[in-house]
Every structure is written in C-alpha cells, then in structure tokens.
Subunit: 176 residues, 2 copies
C-alpha cells in the first residue's frame, strides 16, 4: 500500500509518501514540505496548501492519506492554523475518494519508536532507520509526515482485523 | 455591495446573502443552512460543506465573504469542526479571488444590536428588523450568517478608511 502522510500546518505542512506492507521493509517514495507565507492572508494560505497537497496527490497517487489528528488542547496560538490546514488535506483526499485516516501524535510516536512519549530526534532517527535513509529528513515536519505514513501502514492491518471482528460479532448477535 | 455571511459548522453551516451599503436599507438575497450528516466521516463532511458553499457562491456571486472568526477558547468539543468548516469556506472564496473577512462573534453582535454581549434572540430580532423580514430566520445559524453579512457591510467603510489612513501615513513617512 502507498500512503501519503500529512503533518498539517500553515507555515510548514510536512508531506511524505511511503510504500509497503506491515512486516516487510518499507520504501520512501517522496518527502517534502508545503510552505505558505506567514504574511499572506488566511484564505490565500489555505489555497496554497490545497495546491501543494493536490500536487502531491497527482504525482504520487497514494491509496490512503494519513493526517495527524489535531487536539484543541495544543498550543492555542497554532492550533487553529493546524486544524485549518488539516481540513484542507482531508478535503483534497476525500474529494478524490481516497480514504483518510487520522492518527494522534502519540500513536505515531508509539508506532515508530515503541514509546508514545518519544521526542522529535528519536522519531527522526527511527524514520531514517526504517526507510534506510542516509540522514534524517529535514525539517522535523517532513520526518513526522513519513512517520505518519509508516504508522498508518503498520496500524492498518490491526484496524482492519478489529473492524472484521466487530462485523463478525454483530452478525453473530443478529443471527443468534 | 453583496456579502455572503458564513456561520461555520460541520453539522449546520449557516449561510446568508445580504446586499446594500452602510446607511441605506439592506436587502436579504438568500438564507439557508448547509448540513452534513454527523455519522459521515470527517473528509466527506468537509466535501459536503465545500459543495454547499460552492453552490451559494455560484448562485449569488457575492463580492465579499464574511466568516465568523473561530477562537480556540470556545467549547473544546465543537471548536475543531468549526475551524475546519471555516477553513473550507475561506478556501472556496479565496480560490475565486473573493476577499474574505473575519469578524468575531462580539463584533457581529455589537454591529447589529449595539451590544457585544447580546443573546441569540436579540440578534435574531435585529436581523429580522434590519432586513424587514416577517419572522426571524431559523435555525439560529442562518440568522447568525445574515448578521455576519450585515456586520461586514457596516464595518467595511470604517476598515477601508483605516487602511487608507495607514497607507497615507506610510507614504507621508516615506516622502518626509
């Protein structure tokens, strides 16, 4: 499966495409950052994020888009911009019929480092190792986007099994 | 000037179009609510909001879009959805080159009722009077969208004068 990970932000929106399946070595297909000028007005910044995400979708044709889940408990100053950029990323994916999954920062950290409380350096180091890169992707937003994509590839089978189990349980309950 | 006011929300996004200039009677061109199903996934809800806003822009061709400014201090449960719906509204407008203005809830209340702390009923009553309607628009989100549009029409001249004064002051400073 090919997944586009998006670490949403207005100033820097990290994007990373990873291909692979759980239990096999993963491949980085691309990584980058969509930037928008801090002095532009909000509407134009959102248009720039949309154009950037569209370009990544056009170029890499991911089957899934994994976006960091934004919490309103985060830094009050940046959370609104993050929520708005994430809305644009979800909109772009859903408009094309690409399934969107949200993962929390601690789910992503736990997936790639084993600890939900890992720091940025640890996440960067593990992304570098798991994708067999020569150096950690910069800036951190780009590394986080790759970590999101990896997290999605690794969590997806578990989520699918859970959904299957729920479906099975429900159908059993109905026939009993 | 013709203004589309948007009271952003995922479950109910109020939309209202008002035409007029400050100091003259205003005319309501249209009012409604864009709804999205609470059980749909977030990506699809954002696509539905986009389609709804696009339809209002197509049909009424506003020259300005006024969106309620979302604060992260609001109700934690609903603020993220509100921020995301507002991002979609701003994106739709900016993509067409329509200027977007943000007004806070208290600016809107103060504009239409004279008090920034007015309640929903008071806002509804004044919207009804100012637009010479037979009854307050329902639901409250629709009335709020009309109040936003009215607020923008009335505040716009002051904002323009302020911008002109700043521009004049800046150019004087340069030539001095």
């Amino acid at each position: 499966m090919r997944v586009l990970g998006v670490d949403p932000g207005l100033t820097r929106c990290g994007v990373g495409v990873v291909e692979g399946v759980a239990g096999r070595p993963l491949t980085m297909i691309g990584v980058g950052v969509v930037r928008t000028p801090a002095d532009a007005d909000l509407g134009h910044r959102l248009v720039a994020v949309e154009q950037g995400i569209e370009q990544w979708l056009d170029e890499h044709r991911p089957e899934f888009v994994a976006v960091e889940r934004v919490f309103s408990q985060q830094n009050v100053r940046t959370v609104m911009g993050t929520a708005q950029a994430s809305a644009v990323a979800m909109l772009c994916a859903a408009r094309r019929g690409i399934p969107v999954a949200l993962h929390t920062p601690s789910e992503v950290k736990a997936a790639v480092t084993g600890s939900g409380r890992a720091d940025k350096a640890q996440v960067g180091a593990m992304v570098t190792r798991l994708l067999r890169l020569s150096a950690p992707p910069k800036p951190a937003d780009a590394a986080d986007a790759l970590a999101l994509a990896i997290c999605h590839i690794w969590r997806a089978p578990a989520q699918n099994r859970l959904q299957q189990a729920v479906a099975l349980h429900t159908s059993k309950g109905r026939t009993a």
